[in-house]
């Protein structure tokens, strides 16, 4: 009898012993929602193609990353609004030189950890899709072709992101997102990033350190969780959703290092399988 008791107690302890880390839950304050409107359009909403959220993993100590950055900048110059670049400085090869500002942040690491691992740079997620069995695309020479393939696909939603007002003195931004659904949509999330360009920080380029290297589209902060927050589960065709938010940049940048004139807001739609449906970007101060 005692053996049986010990057996069950032991088993219970074994089952209970493993403490879990659990999924990512965001316990930080989200952006403030000022407007939240939904209506059904009386005229059919036209079909649109996807835009591409291009999350390029980079690092200041990554000797080949300037090659990746160059491809990204060329794609942006060619494709314009349909291409939404975000340069993600996760920990790997990204420790800053000297007194340079640190381009790394917790959101970059969260993205790399949750969909990575990211052990090679330069590399990129193209709409976070698994293409050819891999999500992390590592050869910059292939990026343009993969982006073109993605741009040719239809999206069930069109995103229009506008700056309603930006107060440089107070460092606050009010922005509006309009989601226009041309087809019934599966369950999905919407996410927002803050990115910044024209950041000068030393970069290893081949075997040379370039102390005047200009970093573009650097992920500063994920305003929502990197997987976004739920928009809904049963949104039908011709639905239009309008939301307005306001953020105080100082809530995220207490040292006031970020330059509002060089910053963008990025918005994206994420499906439950982690794929990005489409994305868009707007300069805070054009």
């Amino acid at each position: 009898m005692m053996k049986k008791i010990f057996f069950f107690v032991g088993l219970a302890l074994f089952l209970y012993a493993c403490e879990e880390e659990g999924p990512f839950i965001n316990f930080e304050e989200d952006q403030e929602t000022l407007v939240d409107t939904t209506y059904i359009s009386t005229t059919p909403i036209a079909a649109v193609n996807k835009n591409v959220l291009f999350e390029e993993f980079s690092g200041v100590r990554c000797s080949n990353c300037p090659l990746g950055n160059a491809v990204t900048n060329d794609l942006y110059a060619t494709l314009g609004d349909r291409f939404v670049p975000v340069t993600v400085h996760s920990d790997f090869l990204a420790l800053p030189y000297g007194n340079d500002q640190d381009l790394r942040n917790a959101d970059a690491n969260e993205l790399a950890a949750s969909l990575g691992p990211v052990g090679i740079k330069p590399s990129t997620f193209i709409n976070r899709k698994i293409i050819g069995g891999i999500r992390l695309q590592q050869a910059p020479a292939t990026w343009e072709g993969l982006v073109d393939d993605e741009l040719a696909l239809a999206s069930f939603v069109d995103m229009n992101l506008e700056i309603v007002s930006a107060d440089e003195a107070e460092r606050t931004v009010r922005y509006r997102i309009t989601l226009s659904y041309n087809a019934d949509a599966p369950s999905h999330n919407m996410g927002f990033y803050l990115t910044e360009s024209e950041i000068i920080a030393e970069q290893l380029d081949g075997s040379v350190k370039d102390s005047n290297y200009e970093h573009e589209f650097v992920l500063r902060k994920s305003i929502t969780p990197v997987i976004g927050t739920s928009v809904g589960t049963d949104i039908s065709a011709n639905t239009v959703i309008i939301k307005e938010f306001e953020i105080d940049i100082d809530d995220y940048d207490s040292d006031e290092i970020w330059v509002m004139n060089h910053m963008y807001i990025v918005a994206f739609i994420r499906l439950d399988n982690d794929d990005i449906e489409t994305a868009t970007m707007v300069e805070i101060i054009p």
């Binding site: 049986k4 493993c18 439950d272």
Partner: protein, 549 residues
């Protein structure tokens, strides 16, 4: 090709040897519905009535048992063609394939099972895998199970697997272990103790969806959901002479549970997850002797939801991994069975008292009293807070060798909004149902049976009359005609005074039974053993075949 030929020769060679030592058994159940649109009773608006017009469901089982080898195996072909069997309110569902297969072998005291299996621990509170075709439930576990008998009185069993979902599987993984024994303590005293541990691990995809929803909550309501939840239970049956006392207590570690009772607080369309542990206690005490029996039951449930996942598509009868026994009486007569409470997972305090008394041969009195409350009971508002109350009394009287009767009365108080969902339903439907059943035996084989029932449910459908006449020629033939007449609809119902009639006939030849019926059926809650589902209105023809071999 050579290999295939060798295998074929081998199988042909051993076939007579294998099957000479065992036996094959099986059964077939076939149901066929034909839909006739009748918008006056709500039998319309689905693709069955508009376009498809018919559906068929069938289950064909074939089992092989070899007792000498301690070997059992079986396969069941399930077929659902334009089916509305699993969810009558949904669009047609079509699929067919192997609904169950298993192999089982005894190795001395050890029995190993692989494939789909049904099982339960204790009263089913921590784990129950079962099939109830009437409600569209097939909760088989697909995995492996081992059972070891230490001796004649003690055994332990353990399993790991996934729960069946129609012809596929839910992704979360279920593990469990259970030990049970029998301890005789003299001629009239014995114990049957048991213990069980069950673990469920949610899959990444489901957890991603749950985490997304939680991330959309206000900061104060967010929590980190658990992948793993564990259930522990202890139970015992004590027999002392004419008394039997069963008690089971179970505890569940905290996890994200889907609390439908709180939906209206936030958003009626939005899943409300709460991070809570759960517990339950269920007990029954029975005294039984010749001519007299009485049973008292008590149950308290607190956040004891245990499903494959708390996601919104895994509610009601979907994804359930356990079974919480009901304490109220399970009625079978047509009108008295209309208001049945489903066992609650989130909170329920329930008790009942059932008795039977036979003062002399041929006369039996049955009574039942049961109540169900939420867990917080305020004595000042006790009656108003009641979720369900039933007072039932009947008398069975064998008047002569040819005539027997059943005469009874039922009173029910039913919180329809709580049990059926929409917020505008009444919270205190008062139901009064007297009934009579008479059976006249014409000769040794022929008999005629009559049922007459009345029901008053003013805050729901209003007043009903029900009558049935059934003619039987045992054991082959049965014919019945019935009508359920809503002769005075309640003020909340827009329906006219509708008749819901049916004609049913069946023919039985040995193990084969064929039936065909015309049915005009009102919508209502259908329950079996505390598990309920809303059955929509139906109008049409039903035919079927049951056979075994």
């Amino acid at each position: 090709m050579k290999k295939l030929f060798t295998i074929a020769i081998f199988l042909i060679a051993i076939w007579p040897t294998v099957f000479a030592q065992g036996y094959i058994s099986g059964d077939l159940e076939l149901r066929n519905d034909y839909y006739v649109k009748d918008s006056t009773i709500g039998a319309s608006g689905t693709n069955h009535y508009d376009d498809l017009k018919s559906s068929a469901d069938s289950w064909l089982s074939l089992n092989y048992t070899n007792e000498d080898w301690g070997f059992r195996t079986g396969v069941r072909l399930d077929m659902f063609l334009n089916s509305r069997f699993h969810n009558p309110n949904d669009d047609a569902y079509t699929d067919f394939g192997v609904g169950r297969w298993f192999i089982e072998k005894d190795f001395h005291k050890l029995t190993l099972t692989g494939g789909h299996f049904y099982d339960q621990f204790g009263s089913g509170i921590t784990f129950r895998a079962f099939e109830n075709r009437f409600l569209g439930i097939d909760n088989a576990i697909f995995g492996v199970r081992a059972k070891y008998e230490f001796n004649d009185n003690w055994f332990a069993k353990a399993f790991v697997g996934v729960r069946k979902n129609r012809l596929s599987f839910y992704k979360p993984i279920i593990k469990g272990i259970n030990a049970e024994g029998y301890i005789p303590l003299g001629d009239k005293v014995s114990l049957t103790p048991g213990a069980a541990i069950v673990n469920r691990t949610i899959d990444e995809e489901s957890m991603s969806i749950i985490a997304n929803v939680i991330n959309s909550y206000e900061l104060a309501d967010r929590f980190v959901p658990k992948y793993n939840t564990y259930l522990f239970s202890l139970y015992n049956r004590l027999n002392v002479g004419n008394f039997t006392w069963f008690i089971e207590g179970a505890f569940k570690t905290r996890e994200a549970i889907n609390d439908p009772l709180n939906r209206s607080v936030v958003d009626p369309l939005f899943v409300v997850y709460a991070d809570k542990p759960g517990n339950i206690v269920y007990t029954s005490l029975t005294y039984s002797k010749k001519g007299f029996g009485i049973t008292g039951q008590f149950k308290r449930t607190d956040n004891f939801q245990f499903r494959t996942s708390p996601e919104d598509n895994e509610t009601l009868i979907n994804g359930a991994l356990n079974f919480i026994p009901p304490t109220n009486r399970q009625n079978s007569l047509r009108l008295p069975a209309r208001y049945q409470p489903a066992s609650q997972e989130i909170e329920e305090t329930a008790f009942s008292l059932d008795g039977t008394f036979t003062p002399k041969k041929g006369i039996t009195f049955n009574f039942s009293f049961s109540e169900i409350h939420r867990n917080t009971i305020d004595l000042e508002t006790y009656a108003a807070d009641n979720l369900f109350r039933e007072i039932y009394f009947d008398n069975e009287w064998k008047i002569s060798k040819k005539v027997k009767s059943l005469l009874g009365i039922q009173f029910v108080q039913y919180n329809q909004e709580f049990y059926e969902g929409p917020a505008n339903l009444p919270t205190d439907v008062q139901v009064f149902s007297p009934f009579i059943e008479l059976t006249y035996k014409i000769d040794r084989k022929k008999s005629i049976r009559f049922e007459g029932q009345y029901q008053s449910a003013q805050r729901d459908f209003g007043q009903w009359l029900y009558a049935l006449v059934e003619f039987n020629v045992a054991p082959k033939f049965s014919l019945s005609v019935s009508d359920m007449w809503n002769f005075k609809p309640g003020p909340n119902k827009s329906s006219k005074n509708e008749h819901y009639y049916s004609v049913y006939t069946s023919y039985t030849e040995g193990p084969h039974r064929f039936f065909i019926s015309y049915v005009r059926q009102v919508e209502g809650i259908v329950c079996t053993g505390g598990i309920c589902r809303l059955e929509p209105a139906f109008n049409g023809v039903r035919a079927g075949l049951n056979t075994s071999f």
